[in-house]
């Protein structure tokens, strides 16, 4: 083969397949080879569906040979967090409880939007059990390791999704984000991730965690790829009770306008007081690249996080009540007591939290009257060690697990769209910065992400390209 497409991005791969430079079958075979080669170490995949992948790739190649349009993602390999329904296998959602569930009758809506566009599904990816965690240290299926440093966690709960993209196994994956589960692993693995506006992407066929707060979205290694994927995922779906009726608002055509004319500010107060200097430096480096010198203060952010925590505990616990009654012992010890406690909390707390959510949304709407994009760290620190119980924030040792989401929880709480962009400061592990926008303004965020990438301030190089065939 004259050109190696093994580590190409989404659009580059699709273009190569569509133009006939390479077949979907060759691309798929190479991707399955990378998974086989690397996944023993990284531990992303809980299911590899080689037969299905070969079949889907052959269908793309057949269409091309027959002169039919195979779609904008023709032959692009991908994988999904294992809470997405994948036809023919049980939807684990990181648990053993669901390992004996009946096989899913059909693919999840967001997944089938990808395969209808010609993408080729390779398999399902590891996560924290039932998405209740920020590290993907899953007791049943093992920890997913960070391909940039195998002694570190990949972040969670969509850890398998982020690590597979960072390692170059696939050019994109899908994940979910309730309190930070796309943004945290994107930060730790040093790649791009998009958590769309709440209601924008249909969650039909995904095993939900907290319906009030759940979002689905893509991971990739460039802003262009992220925009192309998101545009394909924007399908109004009346079967998702939270689904929007707004028509799709394509972002890809807007991308190259960059940050021109956009008002960008850095989140102050809460968001600068708690992170490590590394997180603050990453935000500052992007602010410099964008010449953004404004600082905005969001009100009552700590309480927003508190309210998100309570809604999560209560809804999550209630969602699992039937299984907690009969088979609590099969839950991951990392999630079990929180699910049990969540079933018992007083209604007064949760009702208050839901009403507070309205108040907070209205306050943040005001903030967005004179700013378009707000920069904030995605995580307080870069990837932590596997099994690391505490992190040092402002000289104080705090438990790591609950504090990793300190900057993400208050944002998803009111469903704001966020693009996490990776910042690689020299000689250090990457860390992500959130580009936060007003509802439905994903295009503005992706424009800024594109500008940062063009300026070299944000990038997502492949972590460990090994064994590249030529």
């Amino acid at each position: 083969m004259s050109r190696n497409f093994e580590y190409a991005g989404v659009l580059e791969t699709a273009e190569a397949v569509r133009s006939g430079a390479v077949t979907a079958s060759v691309v798929t075979g190479a991707a399955l080879g990378r998974v086989k080669e690397m996944d023993g170490e990284v531990n992303c995949f809980t299911a590899v569906l080689a037969d299905r992948a070969h079949r889907e790739a052959a269908e793309v190649d057949r269409k091309l040979a027959a002169g039919e349009d195979p779609g904008p993602l023709a032959g692009v390999p991908f994988a999904v967090k294992n809470l997405f329904d994948v036809q023919g296998i049980p939807t684990l959602a990181g648990s053993v409880i669901r390992a004996t569930a009946p096989p899913a009758p059909r693919d999840a809506a967001a997944l089938s939007a990808m395969t209808r566009a010609g993408a080729v599904l390779l398999g399902a990816l590891n996560m924290d059990e039932f998405a209740y965690g920020f590290t993907t240290e899953n007791t049943h299926y093992g920890a997913t390791r960070n391909p940039r440093d195998l002694t570190k966690v990949a972040g969670g709960s969509s850890g398998g999704s982020a690590a597979a993209v960072a390692a170059g196994m696939v050019p994109f994956t899908l994940g979910s984000d309730t309190n930070g589960s796309i943004r945290v692993p994107a930060s730790f693995c040093g790649i791009f991730g998009l958590k769309p506006t709440y209601g924008r992407v249909s969650r039909r066929g995904a095993f939900l965690f907290v319906s009030s707060l759940d979002h689905l979205g893509p991971f990739a290694r460039s802003a262009e790829d992220l925009a192309a994927l998101f545009d394909l995922m924007q399908e109004p779906d009346p079967q998702d009770p939270a689904g929007t009726r707004r028509p799709a608002e394509p972002c890809a055509p807007e991308l190259k306008r960059g940050a021109e004319g956009l008002r960008v500010a850095v989140a102050g107060g809460y968001f600068t007081d708690q992170g490590t200097p590394h997180a603050t430096e990453a935000v500052a480096s992007l602010a410099r690249a964008l010449k953004a010198d404004r600082v905005v203060e969001l009100p009552e952010v700590a309480r927003a996080r508190a309210a998100a925590y309570l809604i999560t505990a209560s809804e999550g616990g209630n969602h699992h009540l039937a299984d907690l009654r009969t088979r609590a012992e099969e839950y991951d010890p990392n999630t079990r007591s929180r699910f049990l406690a969540g079933t018992l909390i007083p209604a007064a707390w949760v009702s208050f939290a839901q009403r507070f959510r309205s108040w907070y949304r209205d306050q943040i709407r005001e903030v967005f009257r004179d700013v378009d994009v707000i920069l904030a760290p995605a995580t307080p620190c870069p990837a932590i060690g596997i099994g690391q119980p505490t992190i040092l924030l402002k000289g104080v040792e705090v438990p790591s697990r609950p504090n990793i989401g300190v900057f993400t929880q208050p944002i998803s709480f009111i469903g704001l769209p966020v693009v996490t962009v990776p910042v690689h400061l020299p000689g250090r592990l990457p860390i992500g910065v959130q580009l936060i926008g007003a509802p439905w303004q994903e295009a503005k965020l992706l424009r800024v992400a594109w500008e940062l990438q063009a300026a070299g301030a944000a990038s997502a190089p492949i972590a460990r390209p090994v064994g590249a065939a030529t």
């Binding site: 079990r336 007591s337 007064a348 839901q354 309205s358």
Partner: protein, 185 residues
């Protein structure tokens, strides 16, 4: 007889340090060597009563190599003459994800072969049970039977949630503010 002779206290402090290091590192042979090798030696653990050096040794051999790391919150050493002393310490140790407070009392005696522990007692303070009645009552109301072994960690999570809710609900939220549920008729 001199109480708290600095030289004796220094010796007992050294003995305590060696014992603590061996405990954290699960160094059973050092721990055994520091106990009086006698049928009269005695060790009351958190979950076991051991009479005689043989029982103590057997227990240590069977003990899994778990993380025994603990933080010492307070250490009191008292000596009586040149041959007897008591080491009392209060410690904090996470168990099943819950921070537990414990106490340890050791009676040390200087035999011809050196200082040895003749008797020891370890115990944990009970987890505050204020919420256990809440856990029992609410779980019963929703038909959820929670394994007793999990009560400590579930109560701990409830305590954390209570603290978080307390902070949230200090906010003077107007009665006018309505929630925005996703339900659409």
């Amino acid at each position: 007889m001199r109480i708290n002779d600095p030289a004796v206290i220094a010796e007992l402090t050294r003995c305590h340090e060696i014992y603590e290091k061996a405990l954290i590192e699960n160094d059973a042979s050092t721990l055994d060597a520091l106990f009086w090798d006698s049928p009269h030696a005695l060790r009351f653990g958190v979950t076991e009563n051991l009479h005689g050096a043989d029982e103590i040794r057997a227990f240590r051999q069977a003990r899994p190599k778990i993380n025994l790391d603990r933080d010492i919150a307070r250490l009191d050493i008292t000596s009586f003459g040149e041959t007897a002393g008591i080491v009392n310490l209060e410690f904090v140790r996470p168990m099943d994800g819950v921070e537990r407070q414990g106490r340890q009392t050791q009676f040390w005696f200087r035999f011809p072969e050196g200082w040895r522990i003749a008797s020891a007692h370890v115990s944990l303070l009970p987890v505050p049970q204020a919420q256990d009645s809440y856990l029992r009552a609410t779980s019963k109301e929703i038909g959820l039977s929670i394994d007793k072994a999990l009560h400590i960690s579930v109560n701990e999570d409830l305590n954390r949630m209570q603290a978080i809710a307390g902070f949230l609900m200090q906010f003077p939220l107007s009665q006018e503010v309505e929630a925005a549920p996703v339900f659409r008729p």
